[in-house]
Symmetry: C2
Subunit: 364 residues, 2 copies
DNA sequence: CTGAAAGCGCTAACAG
DNA sequence: CTGTTAGCGCTTTCAG
């Protein structure tokens, strides 16, 4: 037995399909009597609207495509997806979702697939190649980029990394730290991927704040470098540990460290643990992203990226562009803010030259 | 200017739509000359197949719906999604994705939406209510459940938690540990959610292995309890810390701890860090899931759930069911395996009564 | 207020 | 080998 169609319901109710459609969507005039009969028929027939047919006829799909680039194991992007789904669901939209694996070619494929499916909007959870964004735009589909702006004609949701990193640095400075190290983003050897400028923004903030308080920005306090991409995980953990060890060697007076990401911070904390250096008693450390920061020991002070918000805003933006039927290229800003947890404490004169376990309580 | 249709291409090439369709899909007979002309026309016309029309005509969507229940910030489910996408993409399927927020009512809505869209399969990333699974099945849609089996008529992908937890415990035992504590799953006060039996499986393994080696399974070594669900995060972190402190008080001879999840383990490690107790020198600890375990200091030994695999297998299973056009309810098993990192070490006689920093190198 | 009818863009017999 | 044709299930004028 095939599924019930509008026609079947109509037959059952003794009316035309047009009438059934009208009661289904609550538009047009329908007499009370007809409505009743249709509703009864609807109940008896286990009818379920065929959205595919509807989409074909209406020439819109109420669907928006979401392209990401690999790591959903990174809670960062997971939150974005959830945020986008939320906004979509609130407007009756549905999310079609594809993985470009951070690869321009695959990204292009994804856009093509989406275009074939006639989705009405696309969200690029960090686009790989601007050309792919244009491809969507040219096909008359609204596009929103998250985090990185690759195509001026598209809309975007971004966060001000410089401002956020400035907040992080000011926090350290306000705690009395002056000898602050910087642990940068490791960029894999293999890719000539335009080393994204987000880490650069964060670094600029580091440098600017230091200058502001009259510190020299010494090379001994900064580690940036090439590292092979790690097998599991999303890269940066081992680099973080190696960077930290280097910093310990290079900058003996260090009292605090600003890591470009939670991941790098986690690596650094592993190195510190191995060395028996207590955080934050001997060294303060601050991360960026607020991904798994709460789970570290001690819980990591970091900058929280508004990931859910970014996804939510991106989808809302896409939907409003679709509704207005205007291509518009607006930019939404999201604010990242400092979350103070337990890895930052006031600087003390001696830095890490005090004995290990300065503040560690002993086991009972 | 509207988008090019098959008809336009046909006109341009001077053939019928049937011929164009044939070259497009490489089936049926087409003369070389006709093929050439069609290909030329295709190139000139920026034609893009309308998948919606195709779906309507063919009565299948090559789409599978993925329902999850909230936390994509949990890397656990993120990996599952990626795995599912991978398998789907390999077979030309596409993923429609909805969030049921762990709520039976919303889950039902999700199923309805999916059914309306005429998806050909559904994956429940841990279903909430068996009735919703049946709903899909009754509509003739293939359904696959991940992790929890709620509907006997559906297919499923599960992991043997008892076996995996046994491996974890055996690891501890082989290291010479006998005084092993158990940190259980905190169940929120508010929900009368059938405390899922997965934690129970893990606990059974704990008990069984201990008995195997002739240990009494003492209450002093076990902490299970009700805890209010935490605001951020997915619950269990603070419980882990509290449980750990309790265990320290109750079981002075403790040399190792088995935590029911990485999250609980992370909480425990925070408590230990605060107490100045070194891991693994004074106390070994093992987790479960392998979510952010690598990022902890020291990197947490844990049981790796094959999350990607689970997603991959679920989608593959759904796709094969769709292909066979058979409802079949088979179950696929995934193997979780031990990942030894740095939180487990041989038991020493004294347990944690030795001085802090047994193996901590001092800073240079 | 209601029904008939013309498609949305594509596919797949079927008949040349 | 190729074209004609009849829909897939729904929406929406347009006449009544």
């Amino acid at each position: 037995m095939r599924e019930a169609r509008l026609k079947d319901v109509a037959a059952l109710a003794g009316v035309s399909t047009a009438t059934v459609s009208r009661v289904l969507h609550g538009n047009g005039y329908v007499s009370a009597r007809a409505r009743e009969r249709v509703e009864a028929a609807l109940r008896d027939s286990s009818y379920r609207l065929n959205a595919v047919a509807q989409e074909l006829r209406r020439q819109k799909t109420i669907t928006i495509g979401l392209i990401l680039h690999g790591d959903l194991s990174n809670p960062f992007v997971g939150e974005i997806v959830i945020g986008a789904e939320q906004a979509a669901a609130e407007h009756g939209f549905t999310l079609l979702f594809l993985n470009a694996h951070g690869n321009p070619g695959q990204e292009r494929e994804c856009v093509e697939t989406l275009l074939k499916r006639r989705i009405d909007g696309i969200i690029f959870t960090t686009a790989v190649h601007g050309k792919n964004v244009s491809l969507a735009l040219d096909a008359g589909v609204r596009a929103v980029e998250i985090e990185r702006r690759l195509c001026a004609a598209a809309s975007a949701v971004v966060v001000d990394n410089h401002a956020a990193a400035t907040e992080a640095m000011r926090h350290l400075v306000s705690l009395g730290h002056r000898e602050i190290g910087f642990l940068g983003e490791p960029f894999p050897h293999d890719s000539d991927n335009d080393a994204t400028d987000i880490p650069k923004e964060r670094f600029r903030a580091y440098r600017d704040v230091l200058r502001e308080c009259g510190q020299v920005v010494g090379n001994s306090h900064i580690v940036l470098g090439h590292y092979p991409r790690e097998r599991g995980g999303w890269g940066g953990l081992e680099a973080g540990a190696a960077y930290m060890r280097r910093l310990l060697r290079q900058a003996p007076g260090l009292t605090a460290v600003f890591a470009v990401s939670d991941l790098v911070a986690a690596g650094a904390m592993q190195a510190l643990y191995a060395e028996g250096i207590r955080v934050p008693e001997q060294l303060s450390i601050i991360g960026f992203d607020d991904t798994f920061a709460r789970y570290l020991a001690p819980p990591l002070t970091t900058i929280r990226q508004p990931m859910f918000d970014m996804g939510y805003k991106a989808a809302s933006l896409a939907i409003s562009l679709i509704a207005e039927d205007a291509p518009g290229s607006s930019v939404e800003f999201c604010q990242a803010r400092l979350v103070i947890r337990e890895t930052t404490a006031p600087a003390r004169a001696a830095g890490r030259s005090r004995p290990a376990h300065g503040a560690g309580r002993t086991p009972h």
